[in-house]
């Protein structure tokens, strides 16, 4: 259980060699950033990206078939939707703690909670995207002699892409932000230096700002890259 105490336990401050900036608890001590980029910041950033990529990939892999089921069998849609919404609504910290007896103080616990969080976003967006395909278009596809399977892969899915990508962007950005809470449980991701800074006696400004800033930058960069990808795979939306 010791891992659970990270947030409240004593934390050894990460001050390197003391200098004027650190002594004054400055907001952007470049000396400290240089000194701890390789042992604190970079590993935390890489762990953070891993946490998020795994959660988003598994979340998408689970939601996609569920959304197709919800789209095809509309009576099931509210049931699946409400279940995903239920998982989405449980605050992450509570979710982490409720999973501890099941999966322990491990990265699995964090991933299960993060995946559960993404399901609702993916599910809604995929269903909405598939439903947005105009009936005329489906009629034409049928008229052209396409089978149901062909219609799905060649017509419905491509036309649902804008909504699916919107969901991917929302889920990715939100998961990057929420994954900072993983450090409440395990020393993993950008949350680790953030909690570390919060645990120092007079709140180490540089570490909080730089680690927090990296998390925000990572989220905005991911959003920007996914928006570019979205434009590349949905050329018809560029007409406007």
């Amino acid at each position: 259980m010791s891992g659970l105490l990270v947030a409240g336990g004593p934390v050894i401050p990460n001050f390197g060699k003391p200098n004027a900036c650190l002594k004054n608890n400055g907001w952007f001590c470049t000396h400290w950033i240089h000194e701890h980029w390789h042992d604190i910041l970079q590993p935390a950033l890489i762990q953070h990206i891993q946490l998020v990529v795994i959660a988003v990939a598994i979340g998408f892999a689970i939601s996609f078939p569920l959304a197709v089921i919800g789209y095809r069998f509309s009576p099931l849609d509210p049931v699946l939707g409400v279940f995903a919404d239920f998982l989405y609504t449980i605050p992450s910290i509570a979710f982490f703690l409720l999973l501890v007896p099941l999966t322990g103080v491990t990265v699995t616990t964090v991933e299960v909670a993060l995946v559960s969080f993404t399901l609702f976003i993916f599910y809604r967006n995929i269903v909405v995207g598939l439903r947005s395909v105009p009936p005329d278009v489906l009629e034409s596809a049928r008229g052209m002699g396409m089978s149901r399977r062909q219609t799905f892969w060649r017509v419905e899915l491509p036309l649902a892409r804008p909504a699916i990508f919107a969901g991917l962007r929302i889920a990715t950005v939100a998961t990057i932000s929420i994954a900072t809470l993983a450090a409440f449980l395990i020393q993993d991701g950008l949350g680790a230096p953030i909690f570390d800074a919060l645990g120092t006696p007079d709140l180490f400004h540089t570490e909080l700002l730089v680690a927090g800033g990296l998390a925000i930058l990572l989220a905005l960069t991911a959003d920007f890259l996914l928006a570019g990808l979205q434009r590349a795979v949905t050329p018809w939306t560029r007409v406007r």
Partner: protein
């Protein structure tokens, strides 16, 4: 599986023996969250409605929403504590910041998305811009506006719990950070209460939202 069963059994026996503590902390969390939510509504709703009515600032509305999602709550709370110190205000301001984006963006999209023909018809009938906004666009956009409030409420409740982790005490989060005192059973019980508050709030707002959509969309 034994550990699992024991842990939850302990948590369930913790609840009746510490019910007054749990209810007191739940009340603190709810009070904090709903105060912040009310402030966020007062600040964000008029702005979102007005921008939506003018069909201006789509980029701003969407940007606020993305930025709001990208801001880790623990960083927001930490920065506010660093700047204005631990206390009621740093937590409340953090919660308001977390609550604003979904309310603002949804209010914008709700009003912006109201059928332009309907708005034109209202204008043709001689309604003032203010009457159009409050009498036509607001009722028609209400389901989406309430969806934003619901989203904000869930975020704010979650964040109110996290405040304790950043050293700003109060509410059920206190139990999370004092595991030495309350043990795993207490932590699990508090987590159940947090989840219950969030689910209950979301459930009530969903019912209101459903009632609003039934009123505005009789064709469905």
């Amino acid at each position: 599986m034994m550990i699992l069963a024991n842990a939850f059994a302990d948590a369930f026996s913790f609840i009746p023996s510490h019910i007054s503590l749990l209810l007191e902390k739940s009340w603190q969390t709810a009070e904090l969250a709903f105060t912040a939510l009310a402030i966020a509504i007062v600040l964000a709703l008029p702005l979102g409605l007005w921008l939506g009515h003018r069909h201006r600032g789509l980029g701003f509305a969407l940007g606020v929403s993305t930025l709001g999602r990208a801001l880790p709550v623990i960083v927001v709370i930490g920065l506010l504590i660093a700047v204005i110190g631990v206390g009621f205000w740093s937590v409340t301001v953090a919660l308001v910041i977390i609550g604003i984006p979904p309310i603002l963006t949804n209010a914008y999209l709700a009003v912006d998305g109201v059928d332009r023909d309907v708005v034109e018809a209202a204008r043709g009938m001689g309604l003032t811009e203010r009457e159009i906004l409050t009498g036509v666009e607001l009722p028609l956009g209400l389901p989406l506006i309430l969806a934003g409030v619901r989203l904000a409420a869930v975020f704010v409740i979650a964040t109110a719990t996290i405040a304790a982790l950043a050293g700003a005490g109060g509410g059920l989060g206190d139990i999370f950070v004092r595991q030495v005192k309350y043990g795993l059973a207490g932590t699990l019980a508090a987590a159940m209460f947090v989840a219950a508050i969030a689910l209950l709030t979301a459930g009530v707002l969903s019912l209101i939202q459903r009632a609003a959509s039934r009123r505005t969309a009789p064709r469905a």
